[in-house]
């Protein structure tokens, strides 16, 4: 994480000068509230005034008990959701200030997402799952497949490109999901409990993979798994939506 003040950054254009890389994502006093209950009268604060900045080359572990706001923070970082107050700057763009269409494009251009339950499309091969984001870019089929096969080889699944998710183990599916998250060469990769459904050995393989990814991009992982904390080089702890521990 950077120690720069997030508030000094532009909301629309990241700086391009200087030797330090631009942060992949910046949160400025971000809060997220939900209205619950039949009449929407119950106010739930999922995240409360969290600020952070994540630079490329950072492996950030977000930890905390269930309900502490880990997933909410990841959703905000990945532009899957927008804050109730504060700002999330993804590639210099305020995610709440743009349309849903633009947010989708931001995700396509700058974010890779890995889910706990893999969320691969069961009817598609591993190759097609990985190539899915490239479809939106209008990349020709041959090129899509070549890039997907290349990534699958790099995650050790070069001999599984034609297998469907149902024919792969949990660890293999999660590696396919990581490859899919990387296929657009994102600046930021967020992973929500990526080892939550894996045994310890398979989880270690996936974490090693994420560690390699983090060498030249920002990786943010939310997890209960102590192994994630051991693997990460930065840590952020949440409790009741507030940041309670930061090792920066």
């Amino acid at each position: 994480m950077s120690d720069r003040s997030p508030s000094t950054r532009s909301s629309t254009a990241p700086s391009t000068s200087g030797s330090e890389p631009d942060p992949a994502v910046v949160c400025e006093s971000v809060s997220r509230e939900y209205r619950r209950g039949r009449d929407g009268g119950t106010r739930v604060v999922a995240l409360d005034g969290v600020s952070l900045s994540v630079d490329p080359g950072t492996f950030l572990a977000v930890t905390g008990p269930s309900g502490s706001g880990k997933s909410t923070l990841l959703h905000l970082l990945a532009a899957l959701d927008t804050p109730s107050s504060g700002r999330v700057l993804l590639a210099g763009t305020d995610t709440a200030a743009v349309s849903e269409r633009r947010r989708t494009r931001l995700r396509l251009d700058h974010v890779g997402v890995v889910f706990q339950r893999f969320h691969l499309l069961p009817s598609l091969s591993a190759r097609s799952n990985v190539a899915l984001p490239l479809v939106e870019r209008g990349v020709p089929k041959r090129e899509r497949h070549a890039r997907a096969e290349d990534l699958l080889s790099r995650v050790g699944l070069g001999d599984r490109v034609d297998h469907r998710p149902g024919e792969l183990s949990g660890g293999e599916q999660q590696r396919v999901a990581v490859a899919r998250a990387l296929v657009n060469d994102p600046d930021l990769l967020v992973a929500d409990e990526p080892t939550g459904e894996l045994d310890s050995e398979t989880g270690r393989v996936v974490l090693d993979l994420l560690g390699e990814v983090a060498e030249d991009r920002a990786v943010v992982v939310a997890s209960h798994d102590p192994a994630v904390g051991e693997r990460a080089d930065r840590h952020l702890s949440l409790l009741d939506g507030r940041r309670v521990d930061d090792d920066e």
């Binding site: 499309l121 009817s123 060469d185």
Partner: protein, 448 residues
């Protein structure tokens, strides 16, 4: 990136050099293979469409293969029903003269093509014997025969039902109303150059249904046109035959010599008939010459006659339109309901697509193509069902009910089936788009 758990390989990413972004460095490292934002829109639409087709037809697709199968089956039944109705309607407009003759052209009085089959009243052609002989002299014409239709009582020992009596000039190997003319003496002996004093053959070929209603068999006498027919001369059944083509159905038909029927019906005075059937050599086009034979006459080909009669005849058209409306509405309801449920179940997967960057437009295009694919698949299966249903109906009709073909197969009806499926998709897909557009990525991902 190297194999998981292994040490970083030679292609392992290093830190970005000063002045260059990490993305640029990664792209350089990957040999310039990093994707750019400038992809082709066509490739994008095609890619999403391919994705939709694979998801629609894949047995592992969406966990909703049963819903897909039900949708395909529902559309298939709707399309097949529509096509069967169209086939029956086509059989209705395919009257005996059309379906049961080997003629290439019909010369009929102008005004209505429906006269080609059973115009027992209305305009007729005159001097038909001489005209037919003249036509037979044309290059490319093999033979021509005038045909007179008379819906008249035919008396047998114990019954006198109405029978469609068809008067013809007999030619070896000829077929009219599905019945063979070579069971009659060649030519038209009673005509005798217009004197109507030649040999009265008294021959009649009966369809099986006519023989059944008259309760006669070969060799039995019958009388045409009541007392007048009996006075002119008796008729004896020379052959009972199953009509060779569709369109006759179970309606009783009798084939006799033209001049003998003319004398019974009073048409001998002007030597008139309802039409002249002309058989031409393959490849010969004599339509222009035939058109000049009679003023105010029409020359029809078999295909043209079917089309014109389909338009002129209201009942088959009404039946077809009703079948189309029912089929399209039922098909659209099936698609909207079954695929609608499937879309709701499929929402988490579309949410994943949204999460990885597929735009709303792409996801709607995906839904549209899925709806179209499933509907067209149903249409193709429906065409198969239609073929089977028509074959079965005709088999039952001809073998068990002793009738003719009740439905006709035609390639155009198959193409019509594809059109019906497209119409179903056109009605159902907008509803699916509304449903598909309600997907919220985050809600669906959290709820899955």
């Amino acid at each position: 990136m190297s194999e998981p758990g292994a040490e970083p390989g030679p292609d392992h990413p290093g830190s970005a050099p000063d002045g260059e972004s990490a993305r640029d460095d990664r792209a350089r490292r990957d040999g310039g293979s990093a994707p750019t934002a400038g992809g082709s829109r066509r490739a994008r639409w095609l890619g999403v469409a391919g994705l939709a087709v694979r998801r629609s037809l894949s047995p592992a697709g969406r966990g909703g293969s049963r819903q897909t199968a039900l949708t395909v089956l529902g559309v298939a039944v709707a399309v097949a029903t529509t096509l069967v109705v169209a086939s029956v309607a086509l059989a209705l407009v395919s009257g005996p003269a059309v379906a049961g003759t080997d003629a290439a052209y019909w010369i009929v009085p102008g005004g209505s093509a429906s006269s080609a089959v059973t115009a027992v009243e209305g305009q007729r052609l005159g001097r038909v014997h001489a005209t037919s002989e003249r036509i037979e002299g044309f290059d490319g014409v093999e033979r021509a025969t005038p045909v007179l239709f008379a819906l008249t009582r035919v008396e047998a020992d114990e019954s006198a039902p109405y029978v469609l009596v068809v008067g013809v000039v007999a030619h070896p190997g000829g077929t009219v109303a599905g019945l063979p003319t070579d069971a009659l003496a060649p030519g038209d002996p009673f005509y005798a150059n217009g004197s109507y004093a030649g040999t009265w053959t008294g021959e009649a070929v009966l369809s099986t249904s006519a023989a059944r209603v008259l309760d006669v068999s070969e060799g039995d006498p019958v009388a045409l046109g009541g007392a007048r027919g009996a006075a002119a001369g008796g008729v004896r059944v020379t052959r009972v035959a199953e009509p060779a083509a569709s369109g006759v159905g179970q309606f009783p038909v009798a084939l006799v010599h033209l001049a003998e029927l003319q004398s019974v019906t009073g048409a001998a005075g002007t030597d008139s008939a309802d039409q002249i059937l002309v058989r031409a050599s393959p490849g010969a086009d004599v339509r222009e010459r035939l058109a000049g034979i009679y003023p105010n006459s029409e020359v029809l080909t078999q295909g043209g006659l079917l089309r014109q009669r389909a338009v002129d005849s209201r009942l088959p058209v009404a039946v077809s339109v009703a079948g189309l409306i029912v089929g399209v509405v039922v098909g659209a309801l099936v698609v909207a309901t079954a695929l609608g449920f499937e879309l709701l179940a499929d929402a988490p997967q579309r949410a994943v697509m949204a999460a990885v960057g597929l735009s709303g437009r792409s996801r709607l295009w995906l839904v549209a193509v899925q709806g179209l694919t499933v509907t067209l698949a149903g249409g193709l299966v429906g065409i198969g069902l239609w073929l089977g249903a028509v074959g079965l109906a005709n088999l039952v009709s001809t073998r068990l009910l002793d009738g003719g073909l009740v439905a006709r197969l035609h390639p155009a009806i198959g193409a019509y089936g594809v059109g019906v499926a497209l119409l179903v998709a056109l009605l159902a897909v907008p509803y699916l788009l509304v449903l598909g557009g309600r997907t919220n990525a985050l809600d669906r991902l959290e709820g899955s």
